[in-house]
């Protein structure tokens, strides 16, 4: 419950935050603190300097890109904000649907989407969802901005494309067009609990994107299954047939909640359910 001594700064601008992160060894950004403070309580990590992003108002906005093709979500937007956002409701409601099932209200009130994906805990909700939605992430450092795709973003547990001295500033999610449908499902430990296995799917005009969570250190694209569904036949039988072999292609961990075999099986079942629901929503 008790933290080691730590230095703390509360910059007023993104540039200042980046400077602080770059100048101090062992500096870490502090977003909602719903993971970082816990990790520090357990002393599993002890950053030397915390750079609190709380005052960076520009990271707290949800808006549309200039051409309206993407929803731009600031890294410091909380899950609760996503749940209540009219922009999200119009442009990509699955984000709110999923955000509303993360942990509990208190955690959603403080936990941010940026923190959620920077942690990239395999059980987290947003990483597989954002992979399925084809989102991209904008990272800012001293040398300016760069944008990476969701798949390039996730590199391992607590390990992403955000380098030292850099800040994730926003997440861009393509806005929904007619004929698209998204869904996320899985098996949790209790209602709104930690995922044991999750699957997110997005059905669109160009096919389906499927990402599985909790089966490795990054969200796993179910590319073979996607390939089999390119024809657009989302019947029960077709989707089930496409999922066959998905489990075998995975190498999930075993833990107290599920053995690897069970996870393989759940991955197939969840992928099928997510695709069927997404397809149904795509039909409108």
């Amino acid at each position: 419950m008790l933290l080691r001594e730590v230095e703390y700064a509360r910059p007023a601008s993104i540039d200042e935050a980046i400077r602080l992160l770059a100048e101090h060894d062992g500096a870490r950004a502090l977003a909602g603190g719903q993971t970082l403070v816990n990790v520090m309580k357990a002393r599993a990590a002890s950053p030397d300097v915390l750079v609190d992003l709380a005052d960076l108002a520009e990271l707290r906005t949800i808006s549309f890109s200039a051409d309206q093709s993407a929803l731009e979500i600031g890294a410091m937007v909380t899950s609760s904000q996503i749940v209540g956002s009219s922009e999200v409701e119009v442009a990509r409601p699955i984000l709110a649907e999923v955000a509303s099932t993360i942990a509990d209200l208190q955690v959603r009130n403080r936990g941010t989407i940026g923190g959620n994906i920077c942690v990239n805990d395999p059980t987290n909700h947003f990483p597989p969802l954002l992979v399925a939605l084809g989102a991209s992430m904008t990272i800012q450092g001293r040398d300016g901005e760069r944008t990476v795709s969701a798949e390039e973003f996730f590199l391992g547990v607590y390990f992403t494309a955000v380098g030292e001295g850099e800040l994730l500033t926003r997440i861009s999610v393509p806005t929904r067009s007619a004929g698209t449908g998204d869904a996320m499902t899985g098996i949790t430990l209790g209602a709104h609990g930690t995922y044991i296995v999750s699957a997110a799917a997005s059905v669109g005009s160009v096919g389906v994107r499927i990402a599985i969570g909790c089966v490795s250190s990054v969200p796993e694209r179910a590319t073979a299954m996607e390939q089999q569904l390119v024809g657009g036949d989302y019947s029960d039988a077709a989707v089930k047939a496409a999922a066959a072999g998905l489990g075998a292609s995975l190498d999930p961990p075993s833990d107290v909640h599920a053995a690897a075999d069970y996870r393989r099986h759940l991955a197939e079942v969840s992928a099928v359910r997510a695709v069927l629901q997404a397809a149904e929503r795509a039909r409108g």
Binding site: R10, Q34, V37, Q106, V107, N109
Partner: protein, 162 residues
């Protein structure tokens, strides 16, 4: 310019009273409340942010004070269970409802439950049973099985304001 330090002066309005203190930047809000300010109504039930016994309102929203540094509350309004009835000593309808519906046994989870439920009633004055359960999902109770707690919050909503 803000340079990193290991202690800071914070100004927090707690239960309506402005408090200015020097605190270590590593101190959790829950320990600031309990140890420094003697507001021991806010409890601790876990090490990992799961139990909600430490729930308070910060800036009008329910948060778990064990996952927030005291310095992060700088400049904000904080309400704890001690601030519900306030100095008047008149219990809120929600507090009364907890007693009427036997929504507490040992009472250890109760302050956190009350703070989560108060925040709910402020946003949603007449919640349904399902809305109450969602709002209390972050608060563990080991004594009651929740049924009476849910009933007490729904009843408080029916009876009027929080």
């Amino acid at each position: 310019m803000s340079e990193p330090t290991t202690s800071r002066t914070v100004t927090v309005t707690i239960n309506g009273t402005m408090v200015e203190r020097e605190v270590a930047t590593s101190k959790l809000l829950v320990h600031f409340l309990r140890d420094d300010l003697d507001l021991t109504g806010t409890h601790i039930g876990c090490d990992t942010g799961n139990c909600g016994a430490c729930t308070v309102q910060v800036g009008g929203e329910a948060v778990k004070s064990c996952m927030m540094l005291a310095v992060q509350a700088d400049g904000l309004d904080v309400t704890t269970v001690e601030g519900l009835a306030g100095d008047s000593g008149v219990l809120t309808p929600l507090q009364r409802s907890f007693g009427e519906h036997h929504a507490l046994q040992c009472g250890y989870c109760t302050p956190g439950m009350l703070m989560s439920a108060t925040a709910l009633l402020e946003h949603t004055p007449h919640p349904t049973e399902d809305e109450v359960k969602v709002a209390l999902q972050g608060n563990i109770c080991r004594c009651t099985g929740y049924w009476n707690i849910v009933e007490a919050v729904v009843a408080a909503g029916k009876s009027g304001s929080a």
